[in-house]
Symmetry: C2
């Protein structure tokens, strides 16, 4: 699996649906994930770090996790079925010592989640987000034309017509590089 970061949140003008673009670290690959309007609104607030007086829903969840001597270890977008991405949160139980862990006590708790919740929680906590290689291979898009700088990426996003883009991907998959042969990030699960 490979680390991913939010590169942009855009609107698919045809379906009028928000799309979050995840950049796959050390590649020119982008994974687009279509999300709900409310999820996008919460994600935009997390991206812009808009301060709120009161805890929003994900802040409440983070507060509960903190209170319970748990740490978010990572988020993993691990599979796709019928065009729906599946993800999980990996929590580490901080009450399990290194000693106990080395003796076979599993300090990890895995919880099924939607990618949008994982991305929002990752933005808020800084815990890393990973994407499985099989998903990168079949769902990510390689953008040879994008330069390395943030500015070039911003320009690319402004020019982006995500629907045309997805159509192109579906109609001409051969235009997009297959990523399945790239070396893996270490899988520490």
């Amino acid at each position: 699996m490979k680390k991913a970061v939010v590169k942009a949140l855009v609107l698919d003008k045809v379906s009028n649906t928000p799309v979050v673009l995840l950049g796959i670290e050390n590649t020119k690959k982008i994974l687009p994930i279509w999300i709900g309007a409310c999820e996008a609104s919460v994600m935009a607030i997390a991206i812009e770090r808009v301060p709120f007086e009161r805890p929003l829903t994900h802040d409440l969840m983070i507060r509960i996790i903190d209170e319970l001597s748990l740490k978010i270890e990572r988020f993993v977008i691990h599979s796709i079925k019928d065009n729906v991405f599946y993800a999980k949160i990996v929590l580490r139980d901080l009450t399990v010592s290194e000693q106990e862990a080395s003796e076979g006590v599993n300090p990890f708790i895995e919880i099924d989640a939607r990618p949008s919740d994982c991305i929002i929680l990752s933005l808020k906590t800084g815990a890393p987000l990973y994407v499985a290689n099989e998903i990168i291979a079949t769902e990510a898009i390689t953008l040879e034309e994008i330069g390395e700088s943030e500015e070039e990426f911003k320009k690319f996003v402004e020019d982006l017509d995500i629907s045309e883009f997805k159509k192109l991907l579906n109609e001409h998959p051969e235009k997009f590089e297959d990523s399945s042969n790239e070396p893996d990030e270490p899988n520490d699960e």
Copy 2:
């Protein structure tokens, strides 16, 4: 404090803001709480018990709480400041035995939350929602004209102009019964 249940979710047509109407148990009092559009959308799904394939954000939170040997004991809307209601979630640590609790170990964990998250979690889990007496005294509205049946309440809500209603409350507080002298629910905190 007194138990409350969701009676209706309506739209304040003037401010175009959703309002959740909480009925205070064994009274004819209604506590209106103005909430955000996305919170209302999630609440409506919880009220109607619309089934979803994937865990929504609050389902994820409930799943985390369950995984961690915790039980939601209750939700309490406890104060108001600058027109903002403050609430809390009271969790019980199930790993603390009755014996330990009787010996002084506190099995409760209290977490600051918004009323909307508490109401949504209460709808989804069935854990009870309470409102502090001081809030009922100053913020609830007594509806002498409402009958006891669900049907009469439905008709009342359909006829309701919540803005006019709130204006009336602010301009003529004497029209609304003060509840502060009513007997309390047992406070087991």
